[in-house]
């Protein structure tokens, strides 16, 4: 049977991808961040997942205002890097796992009543590719299959934090009921506190981020009851992305063991957070 080997929460700041692509990881600005990520890279190198489900959001790339699915899952065979305005990031194409992805969809829709949009053709942007680069560096090919799970966090109303936690729990049931012997990791991406827009641009709330990192481990239920206005106010208008970490957390056991935790300000205009968890 398929088995969950753990989860990673990580920010997906585009400039981190640019630093990797342009060979700037050793620069004084970036070095502390990449040093802090090393233990997570070591962990994933050791556990070697066969499939990573990446929970991320699309930033006006594959989806735009003409259509905004709340939750969408990539069921295709491959997902190329989207041109976000600079030309596509020079990263390997993601190979999907259609058989597994369709199993997840059937379980989520039929058994748990999570009605995800099913997407056969999709490009993926920095929201998905930056976490892969952070964890795997610059390989010729990604070392595992990738299933994109895209969440709307841009267009209000976004799904609630509680809905995200419950989707993660349903995702776990779907993974556990898959026959093939595969190891599955889940990445919850986005956050931590940041505000890109308006007069309050540059907002960082380290205390609030630390509370999230604490409770992601010990008390995700309390985080799932936080409303959007609190998130917009405290974590910043773009910091609301952090709800996507709860999908990852929901897919793990109630009791988890922390493998690694790291927090760093700034990555561009954003607080960078990283959490690696295994089932206890």
């Amino acid at each position: 049977m398929a088995r969950v080997v753990g989860g990673i929460g990580t920010s997906h700041v585009p400039s981190i991808g640019a630093a990797i692509d342009l060979g700037k990881v050793g620069d004084p600005y970036w070095r502390p961040l990449f040093d802090g990520v090393q233990p997570a890279r070591k962990w994933i190198e050791d556990v070697k997942p066969d499939v990573v489900i990446v929970v991320y959001n699309d930033h006006a790339s594959r989806f735009a205002l003409d259509m905004t699915p709340t939750f969408a899952i990539g069921v295709g065979e491959q997902f190329a890097s989207h041109d976000e305005g600079y030309g596509p990031r020079p990263v390997p194409v993601c190979h999907g796992d259609p058989a597994f992805a369709w199993h997840l969809v059937e379980s989520l829709v039929l058994k748990d009543e999570f009605d995800l949009a099913m997407v056969s053709e999709m490009t993926v942007d920095h929201g998905l590719t930056v976490p892969l680069s952070l964890m795997f560096g610059k390989p010729e090919a990604w070392p595992c299959k990738i299933i994109p799970l895209c969440v709307n966090v841009i267009q209000y109303p976004q799904p609630t934090a509680l809905r995200c936690l419950r989707l993660g729990q349903a995702l776990r049931r779907a993974i556990d009921s898959y026959g093939p012997e595969i190891k599955v990791a889940i990445f919850g991406t986005g956050g931590m506190s940041h505000q890109l827009q308006g007069e309050r641009a540059g907002l960082i709330n380290a205390e609030y981020d630390k509370m999230w990192l604490d409770r992601m481990e010990s008390d995700p239920d309390s985080l799932s009851r936080i409303g959007h206005t609190e998130l917009l106010r405290e974590a910043g208008s773009e910091g609301l992305e952090i709800i996507m970490w709860l999908i990852m957390r929901g897919a793990l056991d109630s009791a988890v063991r922390r493998v690694h935790r790291f927090y760093h300000v700034p990555a561009s205009n954003t607080a960078y957070g990283l959490l690696v968890l295994e089932n206890a």
């Binding site: 205002l65 841009i154 506190s193 890109l196 827009q197 308006g198 007069e199 641009a201 917009l232 106010r233």
Partner: protein, 135 residues
Amino acid sequence: MQSVRQRDYDDIPGTYVFDGERCWKGFSLNMFCKSLDVAANRDAFRRDPDAYLSGFDLSAEQRSAVTQRNWLEMLRLGGNIYYTFKLAIFDGLTMQHLGAAMSANPTSVDEFRSMMISGGRPISGNRSVKEQCNG
């Protein structure tokens, strides 16, 4: 649209929550920006900005904000930062440039970068308009 409806997020200072009303109001502006993720469109916009903009149903105010690269005004007219940033990428600007341009303080890119390196804009005093006034 219930534009007169009060929202509990309205009192978050300097924050343009991208709700349904803004989606509807800013649709053409944002879709113009979105179109710049296609290389051929970037070339066309570079060749003849006016002609390219005429292909989108922008209001006079929106068009003026785009032409003047008034980043804050674009948000006020329904722009979403992830969309307007595509125009900034076209111009070769970073998110720090936009942060400095949209916020009254700090005003220069270097100051904005320094603020971020020093821990970012503090939450204290910036939670609500009321808190800002008291602060």
